[in-house]
Amino acid sequence: MSLSGRLDLEPRPLIRAALATLALCGVVALGSRGGRWLDPALLGYLLATLFAGFGVAYRYFTWIERPATRMYFRHTVRTLLSVKVFSALPNMAVLALDQMFLQRFIEKRSLRRWGAHALLAWGCMLGFAVTIPLVFGWVRFTSEGLDATRYQAWLFGFPAGSFPLDSFAAFMSFHVLDLAAVMVIAGCVLSLIRRKQDEGDTATQRFDLDLLPLVLLIAVSMTGLMLTASEKWLQGRNFATLAFLHELTVILLLLGLPFGKLFHVIQRPAQVGVSLYKADGESEGRFSCKGCGDRFIRMNQRRDLIALWKELDLDGARHGEGIHHLDLCPRCKRRLVAKAQGARLHGAFDPFATIPVHAEPIPDTTSLKS
């Protein structure tokens, strides 16, 4: 789809996204004590983040308005608003740990894929966990008064302890982003290598969708690392240029967030909702296939899919005797194609018409001597 197509904005998600962005602005204002604690050097990042926030919110609200997505979104919201919430929340926490943080399902896809993805994902998480509070002015570090050997940390404008410049805590605070950058670069490079070797990925991948995000992530991380290098070993040479480049790559990455592959970060938590939905359905029981009797489809999913098909103008997919096409298990649907073709072919030639032996009663087998 072209960009102009994407700009054909829908009103409801647009309003919701605008509200969400306003709310984000409010949170930023509040956390930075009315903007007083915002770091002027990070203003560009802030604007880009807010804009990306708007884009992501718009995309998110459009997404959950799709009938198929709403089916699951509603279920999760209803669960959260009902008494079930007490049993659901711990489950969701465990699922989120397993699926969002540890990403075990990727490990099952392949260990190499998981390794690359985990490095990349954890690196990003770590990076954003540090930079967002800094950009929003929620966290800041200043020199402690006149003592140039100590640093003072501020949280929401309140002093949150100080530490000496040469302490481990200081080292960690200043280099956690470098660690994140190294993880991201390693993850991206491993992903690129894996993609190069995987014939399937090679055939289906597209530069803009699959490779560009990896390239951008590498660019962000590299420029970030170079900033550190410039400061540490090159006496700040080219620091301004590098800072500009870093800012540029970060802004590009942020602005791309709502459109590209990285949006899955926002979508992925739906997986937790689906797990809850499945568990709910399992306790409700399964519906038996009208073709073979196998219990195959969970009751809630059958109900919701029939409603969904109706919304998608597919309600006509009903057979005689009240059988919906969704009442047939996948195997029976496959058998049905062959049977329908067989029925058509009988006009052409009937494979069975010429087998008379089986139509005749077989005499007592004990007398069937040659």
Partner: protein
């Protein structure tokens, strides 16, 4: 005494069958090969072209070879997964000796010395012929030829035979009698051009799957298909006419058809008069074979027989295909001759779209039966009792007539002689008689009577478990050579990887052994397979199976060469008998009367049900290879009893129930598979398994008087419903293995269907 040193469980734990489920390094390893080798599939006589992907001296997968003209990339599931026989945990890599504690690895030279010493001891004490060789036709032409020469000149025994005796010999004998030559009369290309296709006793879809497409291509042109089989096989299901006759009544049907062809004057008299002889006597023999008589014998309705005769008789072009269904009988040769009579009477042979062929079953079933691998044969399909033929071969081999033994005993007869104590020593290669010969119990007794038994194999087959010395030999992809496909097309097998450990190609082992036996002068000049092939070319020159003009280079260049190919500039002969020229001295084909006789064993009150046996598409012969490949075992882990619902009802049997099947030879318990696709008076068991699961526990050792093929396809049995706890431990073990193979996949599909 070759009794087993260990329990079956211990042997299984050590030597398998274990399942190979994934390529070397697993599915997620880098699939980029170092090289790609164009070669052929080892599983069946069609010899489909296939490309093997090789990396680090291991076969890691396959690619379809679409340029190869026979199969154009098509493969059956055995072909698709054939590469998994390599890099296998069960693979033998060391010479082994059997001790009280099981098989122990031993030094190669020590193993060879001991083998040579035992051969010499037995032959000194009991005569040269007391040591026998049983071989197989999964071997290349080079190895088959060498096995013949090795037995005759290396061991100086007349007792050499091969497992084609269980496969191709009825067709071979019939073809030689009728045509004077033993080869498919046409390349498969003529199938497509036929207007009617008659398939007798061949489950084409499962046993020669690629042939299915040739038949369908003809049908798409409007050809009619007639299938003769007691079971409704996947191809028969769609046929224009199915003739599900009683097992063992095939020659009655062909006689009945010939009777009708004559009655309705659907005979090509010009062809018959000009190009054949013996028609009068043959007509005389079928004069009483009325449709009513035929119906009574075969159990087919009169109108179906008449319809078949019309369809066959009135066609303009036709192709007749048959396979083991009619050949695995005590009248196997008669059944083949009956089919040929139908072909000759209509004169539809030796022209485009007019043809006849047996569908060779074993990998090199065609080439392996041409060059002296049989007890009565010399290279070039020569006769070992013909003085002229002997003289020529003696001149090629540089031996005297006295040195060349005469006619030996056939495979089953050799086993009988071992059982009787007449043969004391055995060299077995490429053959698993404990699974493939009839009457398993008898075979086991025989093997345990051997004084010395040496076996060449790449896996420890059930038969090899009885051997005193086991020598590791080469897999198909570990050596080069030629083989000859069902069409008569000589093709090139290319080496993809090296033998692991001490393993080496069978031909090297035979050459080395001959050397140790002091017979090196006949063998030492063989340095590579091509040396053997070049001698084979000379030895076959002037014979009917003439390979003289075929070279490795020519095969590669033409994607196979059809024999006869007598000279270097000869392009080969895809279609035989053009212009009505047959291979008998007078150039004519022979009609042969085939008066009907019943099978050796018929049903009676005690054993009231017919039993027939056969293959499934997922396994190959005795299963030594395919029972070790995960995918294939998953699809078909163990044998079963196919039974019609009406017969099942009589015994109160339902799908999966345990049923005990008993014949005069033995009994076994299998799960019932209740299907309408089999005659209600007949049951079927696939034969690829060993021990308690061997269908050949039930079959008898009745032989065709001419071809000496056992009657695998007809036995009388009785059934008894039993309980599932009567299933053998082997069956439970196979079920467990198949289940594990399925569930070991970490990524099981969600269960919705």
């Amino acid at each position: 005494m070759s009794v087993l040193p260990l329990s079956q469980d211990q042997l299984r734990a050590q030597f398998g069958p274990h399942l190979n489920l994934a390529p070397p390094g697993g599915w997620l390893s880098d699939p980029t090969p170092d090289k790609i080798v164009e070669t052929h599939c080892c599983f069946c006589g069609q010899q489909c072209g296939i490309k093997l992907k090789v990396k680090d001296n291991k076969v890691i997968g396959f690619d379809p070879w679409e340029a190869f003209p026979f199969n154009q990339g098509k493969l059956c599931p055995k072909g698709v997964k054939r590469y998994l026989q390599g890099n296998h945990p069960d693979r033998l890599t060391r010479a082994m000796k059997r001790t009280e504690h099981g098989f122990e690895p031993m030094d190669w030279n020590e193993a060879m010395d001991r083998t040579a010493a035992e051969i010499q001891r037995i032959q000194a004490a009991h005569g040269k012929d007391a040591f026998a060789v049983l071989s197989g036709v999964s071997l290349t032409n080079e190895k088959s030829y060498l096995a013949g020469k090795f037995a005759r000149l290396g061991l100086q025994t007349k007792n050499l035979d091969y497992n084609g005796r269980l496969c191709m010999v009825s067709a071979g004998a019939g073809n030689k009698k009728a045509f004077g030559v033993d080869r498919a009369a046409n390349s498969w290309a003529d199938i497509e051009l036929a207007d009617v296709i008659w398939v007798a006793g061949s489950n084409v879809a499962e046993c020669s799957p690629i042939t299915t497409d040739y038949i369908w291509r003809a049908r798409d042109r409007g050809a009619l298909l007639i299938v003769v089989d007691p079971r409704i096989t996947p191809l028969a299901r769609t046929a224009d006419l199915v003739l599900p006759l009683k097992p063992g009544t095939d020659s009655a049907l062909t006689n009945g058809i010939l009777h009708l062809l004559h009655r309705w004057n659907l005979i090509d008299w010009d062809f018959v008069n000009e190009h054949t002889s013996g028609f009068e006597q043959t007509l005389e023999a079928v004069k009483d074979c009325t449709p009513e008589w035929t119906s009574r014998i075969t159990g087919l309705p009169v109108d179906a027989i008449e319809k078949a005769a019309r369809m066959w008789g009135e066609a303009r072009t036709s192709f007749l295909l048959h396979a083991r269904g009619i050949e695995h009988q005590t009248k196997g040769v008669d059944n083949v001759l009956g089919c040929i009579n139908m072909v000759l009477a209509t004169g539809r042979i030796g022209r485009p779209g007019c043809g006849y062929a047996t569908i060779t079953g074993q990998g090199n079933g065609q080439g392996g039966r041409e060059h002296g691998h049989k007890c009565d044969q010399l290279p070039g399909n020569r006769d070992i009792s013909n003085p002229e033929h002997r003289k020529y071969i003696c001149s090629v081999w540089g031996c005297t007539d006295e040195e060349l033994p005469g006619v030996g005993q056939s495979a089953q007869e050799i086993m009988n002689a071992i059982h009787a104590g007449e043969i004391k020593g055995l060299l077995l290669l490429c053959f698993n008689p404990l699974v493939s010969l009839p009457d398993t119990q008898f075979t086991r007794e025989a093997l345990s009577k051997l004084e010395f038994f040496v076996c060449l194999d790449f896996f420890l087959s059930e038969s090899a478990q009885h051997a005193d010395i086991v020598l590791p030999s080469a897999l198909h992809e570990e050596d080069e050579g030629t083989s000859t496909s069902a069409e008569g097309r000589v093709i090139k097998i290319n080496k993809a990887v090296d033998c692991p450990g001490d393993a080496r190609p069978d031909w090297q082992i035979m050459v080395e052994l001959a050397h140790r036996l002091g017979r090196g002068k006949y063998f030492d000049h063989f340095q590579k397979p091509e040396d053997i092939f070049n001698e084979l070319r000379v030895a076959s020159k002037g014979g009917t199976a003439d390979y003289a003009g075929i070279s490795y280079a020519k095969i590669e260049q033409q994607m196979g060469v059809f024999w006869p190919c007598p000279t270097d500039d000869h392009p080969g002969t895809p279609r035989l008998f053009e212009g009505g020229r047959f291979f008998h001295p007078d150039g004519k084909a022979r009609f042969n009367p085939t008066p009907y006789r019943p099978p050796a064993e018929v049903v009676d009150d005690e054993f009231p049900i017919w039993l027939t046996t056969g293959r499934v598409v997922f396994h190959y012969l005795s299963g030594t290879q395919t029972r070790r490949i995960g995918f294939l075992v998953e699809q078909c882990p163990h044998p079963y009893l196919e039974i019609h619902p009406r017969l099942a009802e009589r015994y109160g049997l339902q799908e999966g129930d345990a049923v005990e099947i008993t014949s005069r030879r033995g009994a076994m318990v299998l799960p019932a598979r209740v299907v309408k696709s089999i005659r209600p008076d007949t049951v079927f068991i696939p034969y690829h398994w060993a021990g308690a699961l061997s269908a050949n526990r039930l079959t008898g050792r009745h032989l065709d008087p001419v071809s000496k093929i056992p009657e695998f396809k007809v036995s009388a049995v009785r059934l008894r419903k039993t309980t599932k706890d009567q299933f053998s431990p082997e069956l439970a073990e196979l079920q467990r293995m198949a289940f594990e193979a399925r569930s070991n996949q970490t990524d099981m599909p969600e269960q919705v269907f």
